[in-house]
């Protein structure tokens, strides 16, 4: 009982301190300043774009990992989880070495197409997608694997094509996990700091997302940093509330 209480206090106290020490009197003024609005807008758009990227290329990979036997599947599965445990700043350095101006791929992007990713908003999306996509892949893969195959078999015996089966049987069955995965991916992308500041840099309006604005704000005006932190806290709490029911169930709906 006491350890549990201690854990609760340990987790809750810093968040409570954030609420108590927030500059409530000038909160609105800080949150509606151009820097804050820029950071918020940038954070929301890049996190959404990163989640979209995760969907477009992540869900097919999840399908492949769950349903298809192929050489190196175990390796692929391990690879997918690496960004989860890699320190984000290390991820940022790795992205620079791959996609930077002198990166192994980046140099050709620059020379042949004139595309540079560092210090651009798409660069932020790349950094966020890199760290957040595994969440979606793993959630969806888990859902697909624990799916009762009989529904899909039944649909097949009734004459449905593979696309129809996927669209009308599989997708609805894994929809809750898809949503949970998407929300986790979005939240993770929103909170990303290390990879973003290392790979995409920090420029208000272009690459300065909310976490970066908080960090830079600490250098100048800690009270402003606290105000911005409240916004991130609010988003995190919303994510938790939305996912509340999902924790108690398994990864799939079935």
């Amino acid at each position: 009982m006491v350890p549990a209480l201690l854990a609760l206090i340990f987790l809750g106290l810093p968040l409570l301190a954030l609420l108590i020490k927030a500059p409530w009197d000038r909160l609105w003024q800080v949150l509606t300043s151009p820097t804050s609005l820029d950071a918020l807008r940038l954070s929301l758009t890049t996190a959404s774009a990163a989640t979209l990227v995760a969907f477009i290329i992540g869900v097919p990979l999840a399908w492949l990992l769950a349903r298809q036997e192929f050489v190196g599947r175990k390796f692929a599965r391990a690879l997918v989880t690496v960004p989860l445990v890699l320190p984000p700043v290390v991820g940022g350095i790795a992205l620079l070495l791959a996609f930077g101006r002198r990166g192994i791929v980046g140099q050709y992007l620059d020379q042949w197409f004139g595309i540079t990713l560092p210090f651009t908003t798409p660069g932020v999306v790349v950094a966020e997608a890199f760290v957040a996509m595994p969440f979606l892949i793993i959630t969806v893969e888990g859902a697909l694997r624990s799916l009762d195959g009989r529904f899909e078999d039944a649909a097949a015996t009734l004459g449905a094509s593979r696309l129809t089966i996927f669209r009308r049987v599989t997708l609805p069955l894994i929809a809750p996990s898809l949503i949970a995965g998407a929300v986790l991916t979005f939240a993770r992308a929103l909170g990303e700091f290390g990879a973003t500041i290392t790979f995409a840099g920090n420029l208000p309006g272009v690459t300065q997302t909310l976490p970066l604005a908080v960090y830079v704000g600490l250098e100048g005006d800690p009270a402003e940093a606290v105000a911005l932190s409240l916004v991130l806290l609010a988003v995190s709490v919303t994510v938790l509330v939305v996912l509340r029911d999902k924790w108690l169930r398994t990864g799939a709906s079935a």
């Binding site: 175990k74 599965r77 391990a78 989880t81 989860l84 445990v85 890699l86 320190p87 984000p88 700043v89 290390v90 940022g92 620079l96 930077g100 101006r101 002198r102 560092p118 210090f119 760290v131 969440f135 793993i138 959630t139 893969e141 888990g142 859902a143 694997r145 624990s146 949970a180 986790l184 939240a187 993770r188 909170g191 700091f193 290390g194 500041i197 290392t198 840099g201 920090n202 420029l203 208000p204 690459t207 300065q208 976490p211 908080v214 960090y215 830079v216 704000g217 600490l218 250098e219 100048g220 005006d221 800690p222 991130l232 995190s236 996912l243 999902k246 924790w247 398994t250 990864g251 799939a252």
Partner: protein
């Protein structure tokens, strides 16, 4: 690696918490927001006890040498150095960070500490000027400040909240240049890293940083009439429990041997 569905979501939430927002964040290897995390706690030890010196990132090379010399000259003395952007260090000190001495890269950040009554008087011990750092195999030729305003040139500067960012802004204003940087790093060493990696064509750093980087960057000097100077103040922190040692260190920094080290790095005397 078979992942059991029941463990998926709790595992993910743990991972989310572990490397989520503001997690393993800082690009500056030495500064982390929050007090007491990278410095030793000074306890009331007998004379010759350990002291903690919070110093600006641009002082890294010189203060490391000065601290070593101080320890050699005063047997039993121990100096722990905590480097970072001066503004962040000032915040740490006002939040209770265990500093005995604070050496900052601007009077403004020192004023934050004196305004909080954590330091009484400060003295200027060195003066620094700015220089343009360029990558070794540069694709864009940079010969002076004016080249930075050209359209395809990527420039890295420090964030406006940080002393070297303030200096960069003054530099551009004094020379009537409108330059949109590609990135505003939180630390001058981070700017240097971006230049070393070749990600930007030029970075505005201190003369001392270019000297310290050696062959990793190519410096482009800024003529004195275009340049801005920055004064570096040093002060003893009032809450220090090693006041005598702190005072001794500050005096050592002002003394001839330490000044020689600073000047060899590129600083000028106040």
């Amino acid at each position: 690696m078979r992942i059991r569905p029941t463990f998926v979501l709790p595992l993910l939430v743990v991972a989310l918490a572990a490397c989520g927002s503001n997690g393993s964040g800082s690009t500056s290897s030495t500064n982390a927001p929050g007090p007491s995390d990278s410095a030793s706690v000074s306890t009331s030890a007998p004379a010759g006890g350990p002291i903690t010196v919070f110093a600006a990132s641009s002082l890294k090379e010189s203060f490391t040498k000065i601290a070593a010399d101080f320890e050699a000259a005063n047997p039993g003395a121990k100096v722990t150095l905590n480097f970072g952007a001066s503004s962040g260090l000032a915040t740490q000190i006002t939040q209770g960070g265990p500093a005995d001495v604070f050496a900052s890269a601007s009077q403004k950040t020192m004023d934050v500490v004196t305004a909080a009554k954590l330091a009484d008087a400060s003295q200027v011990f060195a003066v620094n000027t700015m220089e343009i750092a360029t990558p070794p195999q540069a694709t864009v030729a940079i010969t002076g400040l004016a080249d930075l305003a050209k359209p395809n040139v990527k420039v890295a500067v420090c964030a406006k909240e940080v002393p070297c960012g303030v200096a960069a802004t003054k530099l551009f204003e004094a020379n009537k240049l409108t330059i949109t940087p590609a990135t505003q790093e939180v630390d001058v060493k981070a700017v240097l890293s971006k230049v070393e990696l070749g990600e930007v064509d030029a970075g505005i750093v201190y003369v001392t940083d270019v000297n310290a980087a050696g062959a990793k960057v190519v410096g482009v000097k800024i003529p004195a009439d275009q340049n801005v100077t920055t004064k570096y103040p040093i002060a003893i922190i009032n809450t220090s429990k090693q006041a005598a040692e702190a005072k001794a260190f500050v005096e050592y920094v002002a003394s001839a041997p330490a000044q020689a080290i600073l000047q060899a790095q590129g600083f000028t005397s106040p």
